[in-house]
Structure formats: structure tokens, C-alpha cells
Amino acid sequence: MAIVSISNLMKKYDNVEALKGIDLEIEAGGIVGILGPNGAGKTTLVEIIEGLRQPTHGRLTVLGVDPQKSPGQLKERIGAQLQTTAISPELTPSETLALFGSFYQKSLPPSRILELVGLTEKANARNRTLSGGQKQRLAIGMALVNDPELLIFDEPTTGLDPMARRGVHDIVTDLRGRGKTILLTTHYIEEAEKLCDRVIMIKEGQIVADGTPFELVSRASGMSTVWIAVEGELDPTPLMNAGAEPSGHEGEYFKFQTHNPAEVIIALGEILKQQAVSLTDLRMKRPTLEDVYLELVGSQQDEEPPEPSTTQKTSRVPGV
């Protein structure tokens, strides 16, 4: 059953078209990531789903209801962490969660939520004494008070250091394990790749890619890179015949680009049989989600520079 069902959704602010016809179905369970640069329309999309904004055009049901028509019913069943959540500095996490719990017909006890988000030790500290990561975990906790079916996290890790980010990732993964449907926006490609069961890429108000990270990568038009190091004189012609394009040397390595790495590897096998060379090392890099992203979303840059990657696909990238 589709938890979120969107067809031809448009949103126009004054002169700007923020969403230009979105069609989207989200099934129950798993983590759906909405990836896109700032200004792509991610927040607009989730806020329309949350009922905070009214679409200019299009049809939308969330958990089977129209957010504009029955907001009350929907609010009881979704939980959201907004991009910026102001937390009352003088209350404690425990009081904050109890306060938000009071707004719902049914709610989880604060102690249970604090446990879920790992803030039990800070239960009675003033919110203003919490670190950035702790505040974000509290914000996620606030989204959990009504034990919602659908969780919407809008850039939950933006501005956090790697450790804090890891903490948030663990919570989100844990929630998936509890059977929740989680919709999260991010502009961190690695985050989407690591966490999401499904990634939706948005560019300028339109969906440009939709699928599992693996699907997206395999569907991508990007080239794989193959590095070959040999002893002896290598004639690369069979490789080129197999579709490899030489792209120079890196130290002792020959570097090739190819759309069809499997063919190139077979060709390399033939070379090793026929030519007087022996293979000393072979490395290969498949296109990543980042490549897909850059390819589909293009050079549109984030305002924040992407942080250093912590999840390299190749374990040993040849040194420069």
C-alpha cells in the first residue's frame, strides 16, 4: 500500500516554480531519501507532505488522507523533524518530550523516547546545554512522541560533525528496523547511499532519478575506470577494441575509461595469454552514486562544500 501518493504536484512561490510536477509513490517500510542540492525543492516537497504548505496544483494523499483536507487526522500519524527546530532552551529534554506528547491522543513516555535517541543521560539537563548532535537527536525524539507510521526528517545531519552524524544514522537505521517508513532529505550523497533503500533525486523541482542506490548506479551512463600495472611491454589494442579508452598513466599504471568493464577484463585476460606481459596489479572503480548525481543533477553546487568522503569504494586509490 502506498503511504505517500503524489501526482503532478506543483508549487509556485510568487515567481518561482519550486515544484514542477512531481509524481511519486512511497510504499510502507524502509528509508526513502530525497537527494538534491539546496533550492531543488526537497523541503518544499516534504513540507507539502507534512501539510505545512499547500500545493499550487496536483493530487496528494499521505497515509490515505489529503493533508489539506484532514490535517488533524494526519498529524496524529506522522512525525517530523524540521530542517531547523527551535527547542526551548530552558526546558529539559524530558519536559520537551512530555510537552509534545501532550498534543497527541496517544504518545510514548519521554523515557522511552530518550532511550531510543540515546539521550537518557541528558533527560533532566536544560536543552541549552545540549551539543549540536544531542539537540538533533532530541529533535528526532520529538518526531517520535506519537509513535508515527510515517517519519519525515528534513536534513537531519546538516551541520553535524562526523561522529554526531553517525549517531543520527544509527537512530534512523534502528527506526527502519522497527518497521517505520522514513522519508529523509539530504544533500549528502554518501548519506543517501549508506542509509536509503530508495533514493529520489530532485533537480529544479523535478525528479531526475528514482531507485535503489544500486539500481541508480548501474543505470548510470558514467564510465568505470580501470588501472592496469604490468611487467613487460603492453599493447593495449585489444583493450581498446573491447571499449576501453586510454586516459594516460598514473605512475606505473595504465589508466582506461570504459562503459563496459566486463569486456575490458576479458580482453585483459586475452592479452595476458598472448603478450609477454605479466599482471602485477589491477584496480577498478565503478561509477558511484556521486557520479550519478553529478551526471543527473549536474554542476549545480551545494552551498556547503561536500565533506570529505568517508566511504571510498576503492580501498587503495592510486596516489597522485
Binding site: 512530555a98 509534545f100 501532550s102 497527541y104
Partner: protein, 736 residues
Amino acid sequence: MMLKGLTALSWAYLLEAMRSKTALFWNLVFPMFFLFGFAIIFGGSDPRRVSYIVPGLLTITMISASFFGVSMTMVMQRETGVYRRLRITPVSAATVVLAHAATAMANLLLSIILQLVAAKVFFNIIIAGSWLDLSLAVLLSGFAFIPLGLMIGSVARDTKTAPAITNVLFFPMMFLSGAAVPFFMLPGWLQTIARFLPATYVVEILQGVMVRGESLSTLGLPVAILLLSGVLAFLVNALLFRWESTEPIRKDRLAVAVGTLTAVYAIAFLLIPQLKIAAPPDLRRAEKADRGQALLLTHCSYIDETGRLVADAQLLVRDGRIERIFRAGASVDTTGVTVHDLDGGFVIPGLIDSHVHIGGSAGGSVSMKEFSKDRVIHDLQAYLGVGVTAFVSLTDDLDDLIALREAVQRGDMRAPRPFFSGPSITAPGGHPAARFETVPGLAERLTRQVTTAAEAEQAVRELAEKRVDVIKLVLEEGNEAFRKLPRLSEEALRAAIRAAHAMGLKTTVHVQTDAHARLAIDVGADGLEHAPADLSDDTIALMARRGVTLTPTLAVFEGLKNVSAGTPISDSLVHRWVTPDILQSLQSPASWINMARQSDAFVQTMQKLFDRAVDRTAAAYRQGVRIIAGSDAGNVATFHGIGLIRELELYARAVGMSPREVFLAATRHSADRLGRSDLGRITEGAVADLVVLKANPLQDVRAYRQVAWVYFNGRRLHPEQLLSTNPGSWQPQMGL
């Protein structure tokens, strides 16, 4: 559901405010600076002046708590996204707004309570009205102000515009409403503008309750306007509330909101022709609140015009008169009638002291305070406090008394009903003119010194034109040992009495000796003042036959005896109603009393004069002479108000008069001498000047000391508030 969220959100807001040092400072500490600043600088730490200032201060505190606190919180929460986060929960806008309102109300009440406690503890302010009325007035004020703060919070664009809008509203409210500047001092056109401000009506009701002692029921129109304004302002908030800063401010809705409130105050402007705060504070008095109200005094007994107790009665009082007297069981229609349960009290007519001098302090003539205007005003309150609701002044400044009579009749001054002779008529340089000669011009004001019949007639005619109530003549020759004084001639005395009678005025004659008394009676005097030591039985018999009254003034004889003998004053009533400096002046070495006390002869003379006065009064009483109670208060150690209570005790205990005659001497007989058949008695149609005693004075004369309440002109006075509330506009011209 909504209630749970509302409670939780209000509590959270309150916790935040209580935990934030800045919020605490502005909510609770800052108003204290205002209080202390205003009370010390403008109130001079004087309880009465501070009491007048405090309602305005409370108003300022409430405006700032309602406007600044609420609007800034709302704008900040909207700007920082607190509202967005709330918006994705099921909590409604109404809940959020109500939570702000509830928190603001809690803050406001806390702040007001602190200020009131501080004002009470540090400045001993007097709250004339009831605590219940004050509490309701504060709640109502918050109810009117807080929605305005909510409106600012909804309308303001950001944290910079909110204080700007607040200030634009705050300052006019502060300065035009009477909160910071007395309203009556504003020019008329500013008063007109001010009447479109809610704060003006808040000051009106707070001053009404706290200064004028009114109940909210008598402030119906301002109360209704504030209620209406609060309800409508709250409703229009629904039009204005914004979850997000990016939502546009609906100018059309804002116009509706402002228009609605302007309409409310336009109605107020039309419906309430006169604001009471527009009158200077002197013209306002606590008991004005009861004007026009009908009262039913229940659960009481009363003493009738014959001096007999009527048990278990109910008295219906309307427009200052006793309208009907019912038996206890009778069913009385009490619609529109306020019922006062008198708790089994004994109701008597207000007492009348038939011989006083309000210009005299009863002190030793040494301190400036004795000659101050405040002293006179204080003593007028003391009369009321002990149950004396009328007096007859025999020798005081005529213009002051005429002004006082008019002020009391208009209801502009809380004082006993003054009856008076004005000056007394005596011989040139005679008593009491000789006593006043140290102050130039004083003797001329307080006496008419005449020699010939024509001069006497002229003096009486002049006084009659000024509508005096009685003519006082003086026969006195001074003292051989001390100082001889010229005495009013028989010719002048006779002419004066004849002229007075021709003009329908009664006369009474100050007499020193039996010979004076005989002369006065011979020429037709209606009454004698002071019981001479040598008053003969023959003269007494003549008095009885001719119906000449005697006002013995035993109190002044006793006072003189006691101070000359150095007897300490241990009367608790004196200590309650007489200021310490008057009592100290009696002990002052600079006082003439101190010198007189050195003379054994003087001390013995005083003792003898008192003993003889008692003895002669007793003789007169036994012979059937009508005794009229008068104390000569204002003379040495004869204290205003208390003097009459002492006089009555002496009648009962020293003279041996029956309780009934003691009662009549201070009520009906006194009124009859003044020709007032509607005064000094409890009958249907009589003036409702009443005293409620806790005990029966027909059983024990000490009951006169046990005053529970005093009703003046049908309005209840609270004795404990008399000295602390503003009595009104009248001030004596004589006096410092």
C-alpha cells in the same frame, strides 16, 4: 485533548519564563524599581499619596507584562520556527494563543501580587475597597490587556517591529490613562483621546476599588467596556494569528480588528459621560460608592426615639433616610437592595456633641501640628470613628464652617454634620476674645464684641443671614486671682436674645456663675453652657420651669482637672483617635498647663470645679432640667469625638442619669434644640446617620465605645479606614 495540550503548553511557557533570568528580571524585579521610584519620589513615602499612585503603577505593570512579554515571545517563537514545529503537531492555533494568554496572566498576577505586597509592607498603602473587588479588577484588567499583546504578537513583522508597535501603544496608555500622570491634570482634548484607550478604564476601576473604595458593581460601565473589549480583542486574534513569518499580514483583517476595538471605545466614550478619575482625588471618597443604593440592615436591635430598645428589627435605608422599619421576621423585597447583616448589633442614631470647638486641638498649644489643617481634618474623622455624626460648634471660624456645611451636603467631604453658632457674642475684650488676642485678627473672626443693644442686634442679624444654627452668648468675668474680664452687658444680652428669637434662632449662653445663669434665664435664653459651681437649686428649678436646657460640659471640667493633676491619659480610645503629638503637647514643659500645674491652688480649683459641675448637673437632672450632651471638645484634654463618649460616661456614672436619659441627651434632645425632628432618632423618614454598637448602651454606658460600623447619610463607613483614606476636598482656611 485541547485542554491537556493547553495546560502543558502554558506550563511549559511559564517554566521557561521562570527559568529565564531576563524574563524574571523584567517580569518581577523591574516593576519593583518603578514602585520604589514612584513611591519615594512622587509619593514621598506617605501611605495616602502612595496609595493614590499604586493603581497607576499596577496598570503600567500590567500593560508592560501584557504587551512586551507576550508580543516578543510570539514574534520570537514565530521567527525561530517554534510555531512551525508546533504546527505539524495536532495542537491548534487557539491552543497556542490561549497558552500565551494564560502564561501572560500568570506572570501578570505574580508581578501584581509582588508589587502589592511590597507596597503594603514598605509603604503601608491603604486599599479602600475589598480584596475580592481588587482581585477581580486585576483579572479583568489582564483580560482586557492581554489580547492586545497577542494582537501585537500576531501583527508584528519581526523582533524589531514588535517593540516599536508596543511602544507606540504603551506610551500613550501610560501617560494618558492616568497611570503615570493624574488624569484630571490632562487637558480636555487629551482626556478625550485617553478615553479611547483601555488603560484609562483600567485606571478608573483600579482607583475606584483601591482609592475610592468602590465595589465593581458601582463601576459597571467601565467593567462592561473592559470585558467587551477583552472578548472582542480575543476573537479578532483568530483573524490575525500567523504560524509563519512568511505568511502575509492581512491588512484587511487588521483593519477589521482595529476598527472593532475603536468601535468599542467609541461606545465607551458615548456611554460613560464622566470618568471618576477625571475629578481631582480630593473630591472623591470611599463611601460615595453607596450613594443611591438601598440598604437593608438586618439582624439588629435599635433604640427608638423614646430611648427604648426594640429588639430584632430590620431597617430599610434609601437615599440617606430610614425608609421603613420592619420586624425581624418580616419578608422584605430585597431586589436592588444591599443587605448588611449587623450581626446582632445595637443600632442607635448617630451621636451629636452639642458643644465643640473644631479649631481647638485639645492639646497644650505648643506644637505646630495643633494648628494645622490636617489636625482639623483628622479630628473630623475621629468624630465619625467614635460614632459622633453631628456636632454643634459654639465659637469657630464662620466661613470655614459654612464651607464645611456645603461640602458635607454636597457629599464632597467626609465629616460629621456641622451645626454652628459661628462666632460667640461677648463684651469687647471679654471671654473668649481675650484668649485670642495673641493672634492679630483672630478675636475678630471668632467673636462679635458688642456693648450696646444695637450692636448686639446687628451681630445677631449678620449671623442669621449666614444661616447659623444657634446664637451663642458669653457671660464670663474671668478670675479675680488670674485676670478680670469685661462681661457682656445685660442690655446687649437681652437685645441679642430678642433679635435671635425674632429670627427663629435659639440661644445658648456660656455661664460662669449662678448669677450669670439667673440673668440669662431672666432675659429668655434657651440654654446654658457649662454647669457653674454655684448653680443654685432655685435657679435649677427656674430652668426646669422655663424649659431652659443645660449643657454641662463635664468632659472639659474633667480634662482640666486631670491634666492639672498630672493624671496620665490611659483611655485606649484616646490613643486610637488622637495623634501622639497632641498628647505629647499636653506634657510639654512649654505648655501653660505645665506652669498651672505648679500651682496647688489651680489644681484644687480644677478639682473643685469638676466636682461641683457634677453635683450641680445631678441636681439639675433630678429637678427635670433637660440635659443636652456637650463636651467642649477642642479645649485642653477634651478630645474631639471621644470627649462626648466621656461626657456620656460621666452622666451615667458620676451624675447618675438613667441610661435612657444619657442616650436622649446625645441624640434626640440635641437634635430638638437644633429644630431637627429628622435627626437624632430612628424613625421612618429620619436621616440615616446610624451607629452600630456591639453592646446595648441601655445596659452599660461603656457600649458607646464598642462601635462596629457607622452609617452616615445612609452609607456605611469603616472606622478603621477613616484615618487612612482621603476624606474629601474641604480644608479650613484657619490653620497652617
